[in-house]
């Protein structure tokens, strides 16, 4: 009998699921060696099917998305119990990801932004409710928690696989490893390891030329008149997260003149990705007087959103005061 595989999405966009399918024929290897027991995006199965399984009967579960609702938490606990190996898959499950940025706001203001924001047409101010009496019976929606948590803030996690989404070649390498483990040709790395990623920074994989930096002006990419295709983007005044971000993506963004946005999470050894990036940026900036420093920093309109674009939920502070005061 083939070992069982599962993949689940919590507070996520679905991109991780697409990323797995984007491995082309590799997904057939997965199917050849595993019995896909539960994967809501790809096949029909019910939560009660998982609940009926014996504990530990899933060999491996790839869990993507953060924990934002009581349903997310229920599934994290359930899949932890049923899985021998639980992998936090993708930026949201490992670091909070983009949905984790809502930790800067209270739940109320996040709901207002979604249901009454300038990009929403909602004349009757219809809002979601957790229970609704329909003619067929009571309908329920899971409750939202005050903050988004990463998977390892809810249940113990065996492996971390970063990326938004993880790159296809990295997923393929992990599938190969799992197949070898099943065939007894390889053993699993130590628990708590980061898999499917490099052990250095994005800068190390970036082919751009680096010189002594003395940044006098920061701009966003749409404000740039021209971008030199050979020289480091940070040197050219584009805020690139490469120095603080784990390698593994082959520096795809900087290679096409888009600064790294940090989706592979904190670089090895960095406790807090945003703090590491602040430290790195301030080291290569010009300015010896407060006023001169401020002129350069004015080029960063959204510091928290820039430095913690993916890592806020897993950062040392984990949220802004607006969210944690509501939680407390």
């Amino acid at each position: 009998m083939k070992p069982k595989f599962a993949m689940y999405w919590a507070a996520s966009c679905g991109g991780c699921e697409i990323a797995v399918l984007n491995t082309d024929a590799k997904v057939l290897d997965l199917d050849a060696h595993f019995d896909v027991a539960f994967w809501p995006a790809a096949m029909d199965a019910k939560y009660r099917d998982v609940e009926a399984m014996a504990d530990g009967s899933l060999l491996v579960t790839l869990f993507n998305g953060g924990i934002r609702t009581e349903e997310n938490e229920h599934m994290a606990r359930l899949l932890r119990r049923k899985s021998q190996v639980l992998v936090a898959f993708g930026a949201c499950a490992t670091e909070g990801g983009i949905p984790g940025l809502a930790n800067l706001s209270s739940l109320e203001s996040a709901m207002d932004a979604a249901y009454a924001g300038p990009s929403t047409v909602n004349p009757g101010d219809t809002r979601p409710v957790t229970a609704w009496q329909a003619p067929e019976g009571e309908l329920r929606l899971p409750r939202l928690e005050p903050v988004l948590r990463t998977l390892d803030q809810v249940v113990p996690v065996d492996y971390y696989m970063p990326g938004c989404p993880p790159e296809a070649h990295q997923i393929a390498a992990v599938v190969d490893l799992l197949v070898q483990v099943v065939e007894g040709k390889a053993s699993l790395p130590p628990p708590g390891s980061v898999i499917g990623a490099g052990d250095s920074t994005v800068c190390d994989e970036c082919p751009r030329e680096r010189n002594v930096k003395n940044i006098t002006r920061l701009a966003r990419v749409q404000e740039m008149v021209a971008i030199d295709p050979r020289v480091c983007l940070l040197e050219q005044g584009l805020l690139c997260s490469g120095p603080a971000t784990r390698s593994g993506c082959r520096a795809r963004c900087p290679q096409v003149s888009a600064p790294c946005i940090g989706c592979y999470g904190a670089a090895p050894g960095a406790l807090d990705q945003g703090a590491r990036l602040m430290a790195a940026l301030a080291s290569v900036m010009a300015g010896k007087e407060p006023e001169a420093v401020d002129r350069v920093l004015d080029g960063i309109p959204d510091p928290a959103g820039t430095f913690y674009r993916f890592g806020l939920a897993h950062s040392l502070l984990r949220s802004g005061t607006a969210a944690w005061k509501a939680e407390a």
Partner: protein, 156 residues
């Protein structure tokens, strides 16, 4: 004992000027409040924003960073780096809802024990007026390894 709020403040001082200033304050029998816990580093340029965030996340109500005066850095220009990191960190903290005044940067030469003691005293009062930061104690990523071990033990 009075009921007034006693803030916990972490002070990072450089080895060459500010720590010696604090030492001079002590040797000169000048008083400054015990709320401030000094940590000596070789240079203010060594201070990573991580240190400040870790202090705040683990119970500090304020952080004081003290280095050599501009132009006087033992390592030539590293105190300018401290200045840039401080201003950048303050902007980020403000967005997170933490009063930027909770993280103060100051300069003190080895001869300025009295001035540093005065700055520290004033800073303690400022943070006292701001009130507790009281960042919630949540399971930290470091605690996850322990959870993992507990789960491994529970699994037959």
């Amino acid at each position: 004992m009075s009921d007034r709020f006693e803030p916990v403040i972490i002070g990072f001082t450089c080895n060459w000027c500010s720590y010696r200033a604090a030492d001079a304050a002590g040797m000169g029998r000048m008083k400054y409040p015990p709320n401030i816990r000094l940590i000596r580093l070789m240079c203010s340029g060594r201070i990573d924003p991580t240190f400040v965030l870790k202090a705040l996340a683990e119970g500090a109500d304020g952080v004081l960073i003290s280095g050599c005066h501009p132009g006087d850095c033992h390592y030539l220009e590293q105190n300018y780096k401290a200045l840039r990191r401080h201003r950048l960190l303050q902007r980020t903290l403000a967005q997170l809802g933490i009063e930027p005044e909770r993280v103060r940067l100051t300069w003190a030469s080895a001869a300025e024990g009295a001035q540093l003691a005065e700055t520290m005293t004033a800073f303690v009062e400022e943070v006292r007026a701001l009130g507790p930061l009281a960042w919630p104690a949540r399971p930290r990523p470091a605690a996850v390894a322990e959870l993992h071990e507990a789960a491994a033990e529970a699994t037959p």
